[in-house]
Amino acid sequence: MTSEPNLQVVFHSPADVAIGGAEIKRIGQEIVQANSMLGLTGFLVSLGETFVGVIEGPTSVVISRLEEIMATCVPQLTVLREAIVEEGRFVNCFYGDLGQSLDGRMAESHPCQFADALARRLSATA
């Protein structure tokens, strides 16, 4: 049992544009499965070719995991919020996939709006 403080990170990241929808879903599922096995909580959703997520857990585990994600499957990752939290907001690690059905404008704007809103709200209530 670690006594490390919990780190909460809100991020979004454009997936590799060369990756197809099925591949994005597979990557998302693998990320969440690995996060869950490490005892991390939060959620990850893929919208078009973009991931939006919250990941939380012991600081060193979260940082290592984010580094691993960036090194292996999602090279471009933007952290919108990074904060030490007394208690995590989430108890599970969920993956949701909206697929590739979003039209171009929505696929671009929606993930960023969602990620921004998440970061702002979590910061405001911290």
């Binding site: 959620f43 108890v91 059905s101 979003l102 929505m106 809103a117």
Partner: protein, 151 residues
Amino acid sequence: MVGNANLSRTSGDREPLLVFAYSSLAADGLSRDECADMVEQIREINRACEITGVLTFDDGRFQQTIEGRLGVMSPVIAAIVADPRHKRVAVTRYSLQDKRQFDAWRPMGFEQYLGQHERPVARLSGLRKTQAGNVLSLDAYRARRDQFSGK
């Protein structure tokens, strides 16, 4: 009460419908009155954003499913997961769907299971296929609360 028109087919509504579901625990010290106020607040937001769904509160545990146009759901979902009035959030659904499942439920259905010493109200099972009137309105809930508390 708004009619039963399918919001997902109304003009200007070409955005896909997003469904978001979660369960959570009430924050320590959240009173029943605060819970009722929160439901009222949620209803107002949902009404303004044409969000439909259902919320239950049982023994300190919330379960909510909401559905709405993709464009309006992001700030709502963000506000929900960050709301300090609940904790230990478990997201259980985030997906697109073609048609509303809770279209008849406006304002959003809400039922609070009462404590073991109080008279239980109808459970939610099967209510999705029934009329919105089967779900307690906030006024009805308050009346029941007052009745059971002897006011």
